[in-house]
């Protein structure tokens, strides 16, 4: 363990020296009396609670409306660092969409033997109902969340892609809003690229993929599972910022070739649905018959070009952890470019030799379920005791196809407020890339931080917090 500890990249400190990008922040921290810091921290929390930026946790007892811990120490990236990420993320988003068009169309990449067919067609997320249908502008995944980790000055890795409905962007926006409100001075001293263009960029992106049948200004809605969903706040926040309606399945119905919403003035046609519910709940006639969240008949209207669904049904096949290893291959195949951002080396337990390696090195590796998310169902080898590892080994042997393994990365650390002052804590980064008529990316993203010392799990459901993320203007 101490060997990995030593290698951890500290984003603020270079040995004893403060990196230039953090110079102002370090001064800011040193000049802040501890009493003031506590005051500001509770002020920030009060703001979050008052604005209602909570995520809902039901069924665990206690207050169902929880706050995600907000750390006031920003994370900083230089314009140069961002330039590379920006290029790499756009490249990835383009390749993922090209891949989706392909696997639901001619399947060139499979025919070329670059990706094994069964990985695609046997995949749970491969949507039969989407085969042969080309969504407007050939975009399946309109919002691509790319999870990145950093391990060195110039080393960024893509941990995973999120092509369905990545959440958390409301925190990116609110973290900035609250920092600007509490520390305006910081924004005068540091030239920080703004992120507040996100909502209008999202609106434009969604409008740009309106169906061809839509002649007027497209009517965009956000489809939410409802107030009991953990991300309901985000849904209503985005609807509010974009000035579009936040609808539930019960507000929509099919009539003729279109989708309509029930308004106080009668039915109104819906052209673009930014859905925040899973494929299987979209249409009880097509998928899960017991779904109360979707709209019966939606898929028929979709397939006949009456409405655009964002992300398109079936987009999930591109962000599967087993497909993930092939993304660099996709970039070469569709774009004819070399990947700007690297993948984390990954062992597929589905392959016999790789599985053997994984089982022999469990105590060094991170093992994840292929379809898992939220940091659940994973094994962090170096942190696990013997019996946990043995139990996990058993699970892998039972169903090897369900697991992939990656080396335990020494995630970079960023100063974070703790009881005694500041201390480095591990972080990741999720930028949100918008794909429509154009590809758009606001500088920055959501930084998640593992607040527990030494922890590498940044998920909010498991004790992670968030930080404002700065990209310095050039």
């Amino acid at each position: 363990m101490s060997a990995t500890q030593a290698k951890i990249f500290n984003e603020m400190m270079n040995g004893q020296d403060v990196r230039a990008a953090y110079a102002n922040l370090e001064k800011w921290y040193r000049s802040m009396p501890p009493e003031l810091r506590n005051l500001k921290q509770s002020e920030a929390e009060a703001l979050f609670r008052r604005v209602g930026i909570t995520f809902a946790v039901y069924g665990e007892g206690g207050d169902p409306e929880r706050l995600i811990p907000f750390d006031m120490f920003p994370r900083v990236m230089t314009a140069e660092e961002w330039r590379k990420l920006d290029k790499g993320i756009r490249q990835r988003a383009a390749a993922l969409n090209a891949f989706l068009c392909d696997v639901y169309g001619r399947r060139e990449i499979i025919r070329a033997g670059r990706i094994p067919e069964h990985l695609v067609t046997n995949n749970e997320a491969y949507e039969k109902a989407a085969i042969g249908f080309m969504p407007p502008r050939g975009v399946f995944s309109h919002i691509v969340g790319v999870d990145l980790v950093r391990t060195g000055p110039d080393e960024f890795y893509v941990l995973e892609d999120n092509c369905r409905t990545p959440s958390g962007v409301s925190y990116m926006l609110q973290n900035r809003e609250i920092m600007m409100r509490m520390y305006p001075q910081l924004f005068m001293e540091n030239r920080i690229a703004p992120v507040d263009g996100y909502a209008s960029a999202l609106r434009k992106t969604l409008a740009s993929v309106a169906p061809r049948k839509c002649m007027a200004e497209p009517n965009i809605v956000i489809l939410t599972p409802g107030q009991f969903n953990s991300a309901y706040y985000e849904h209503s926040f985005l609807a509010d910022l974009m000035g579009v309606e936040l609808v539930e399945g019960q507000d929509l119905f099919v009539e003729g070739d279109f989708i309509w919403m029930t308004t106080t003035e009668g039915p109104k046609k819906v052209d673009v649905i930014y859905r925040r519910i899973d494929d299987s709940f979209l249409d009880p006639l097509c998928f899960r018959p017991d779904s109360m969240l979707g709209v019966p008949g939606l898929m028929n209207v979709y397939r006949s070009g009456g409405v655009t669904i964002c992300s398109a049904p079936g987009a999930g096949v591109a962000d599967d952890k087993a497909i993930y290893t092939y993304v660099p291959e996709m970039i070469r195949f569709y774009l004819g470019e070399e990947p700007v951002l690297e993948n984390v080396p990954t062992w597929q337990c589905a392959r016999k030799d790789e599985c053997r390696y994984v089982l022999e090195h469990l105590s060094e590796l991170v093992v994840k379920e292929v379809h898992g998310s939220g940091g659940y169902g994973m094994l962090v080898g170096p942190k696990a005791d013997k019996s946990t590892i043995e139990a996990f080994a058993h699970k892998i042997r039972q169903n090897p196809e369900n697991y992939i393994a990656q080396p335990t990365l020494a995630l970079s650390a960023v100063p974070t407020f703790v009881e005694e002052g500041i201390a480095p804590r591990h972080v990741d980064l999720r930028p949100y890339c918008l794909v429509g008529e154009k590809i758009e990316l606001v500088p920055g993203g959501l930084t998640r931080v593992a607040l527990t010392e030494g922890s590498l799990v940044v998920n909010s459901s498991q004790g992670g917090g968030v930080k404002d993320t700065w990209v310095l203007a050039e």
Partner: protein
């Protein structure tokens, strides 16, 4: 506006108004219980209070006897009672939360803080809470929300639907409040055994914060006719039936103008208003106050259903 959004706004307003009425009833009951009864002991109007809220049976099922502490708990804190102040505030807040972005932040703040404060009150020892404190707290909260709405909310269709919720609920509640006490307003002694009681009338006025309004509007002695006129037919008194129905009409007219389209909801509201504005106190007493109030409550509920059908459930007019 989405029908569901309008529906949440409408019900948020109704629950706020209902919380206020329950608090007012609680106060009337508690005050009445301080008055000596001519036949010995103290007066007990609690059954009438519970009846007017339609919760007498549920209450008896849960508690059996009507002792005052039980009733206070039932009317204020009990989540089994859908009309308790707590249930109403929770319901109002839940409706508001779903459509939070349709409200200004001061409005949401006011509702949300009341909810947080109420949770605090719930944890306080009951013996440390006076009934008057609880009712005053409720009234203050309702006034705050209404103040915020009036000062900050955009006057769009959403505002009108909240207005309709408030005025329909208020008309209903005022009618029920009078009905609890209808016998003290009956003009003839022969109708009731215990007789007219000056302090009971005062109490009815008090429960609607109407003593001063009464004195400013009418001269001379307090009579049943005058009180009935104030609470039912006086257009200047903001809680009277006529005022409430008039506001329902105004808000519905706003909506019709907004949408350039009237519906049967406007027709029904104006019909109710016409009938009410033509009535006199004598007509009402001739019909029987209780009968008149019952009839009004049912017509008002019919109007509410029409509004819901036309605007909130998306059933075309």
């Amino acid at each position: 506006m989405l029908s569901r959004t309008a529906d949440h706004l409408y019900w948020m307003a109704r629950y706020l108004e209902r919380a206020e009425t329950t608090a007012r009833l609680l106060e009337v009951g508690a005050r009445t219980a301080l008055l000596p009864d001519p036949s010995g002991g103290y007066r007990n109007d609690w059954e009438a209070v519970l009846q007017s809220k339609g919760t007498l049976e549920q209450f008896k099922e849960k508690f059996g006897e009507t002792n005052q502490r039980n009733i206070e708990t039932w009317l204020f804190f009990d989540s089994d009672n859908p009309a308790s102040v707590l249930s109403c505030i929770n319901a109002a807040r839940e409706n508001a939360r779903v459509v939070r972005t349709a409200l200004t932040s001061p409005v949401w703040d006011a509702i949300n803080s009341a909810y947080q404060e109420l949770k605090q009150l719930q944890r306080t020892e009951r013996s440390k809470l006076m009934v008057t404190d609880l009712t005053e707290w409720t009234l203050r909260f309702c006034h705050l929300v209404r103040g915020c709405l009036s000062a900050t909310q955009l006057r769009n269709d959403g505002y009108a639907f909240m207005g309709i919720g408030t005025s329909i609920e208020r008309a209903d509640n005022t009618a029920r409040l009078i009905d609890v006490k209808y016998y003290v307003l009956l003009p003839s002694l022969s109708y009731v055994g215990s007789g007219l009681d000056q302090s009971q009338w005062a109490l009815l006025l008090q429960s609607m914060t109407a003593q001063r309004a009464f004195n400013w509007s009418y001269s001379g002695e307090i009579t049943a006719q005058k009180i009935a006129h104030l609470l039912i037919l006086n257009r200047k008194f903001p809680r009277s039936l006529l005022s409430s129905v008039c506001w329902t009409c105004d808000h519905l007219d706003d909506i019709a103008q907004n949408y350039s389209n009237g519906t049967r909801a406007q027709e029904a509201a104006h019909q109710l208003y016409e009938d009410l504005s033509r009535a006199t106190v004598d007509d009402i007493f001739d019909e029987g106050l209780h009968e008149f109030l019952q009839r009004f409550v049912s017509r008002n509920a019919g109007l509410a259903n029409t509004v819901q059908d036309v605007y909130l459930r998306g059933i075309p007019a």
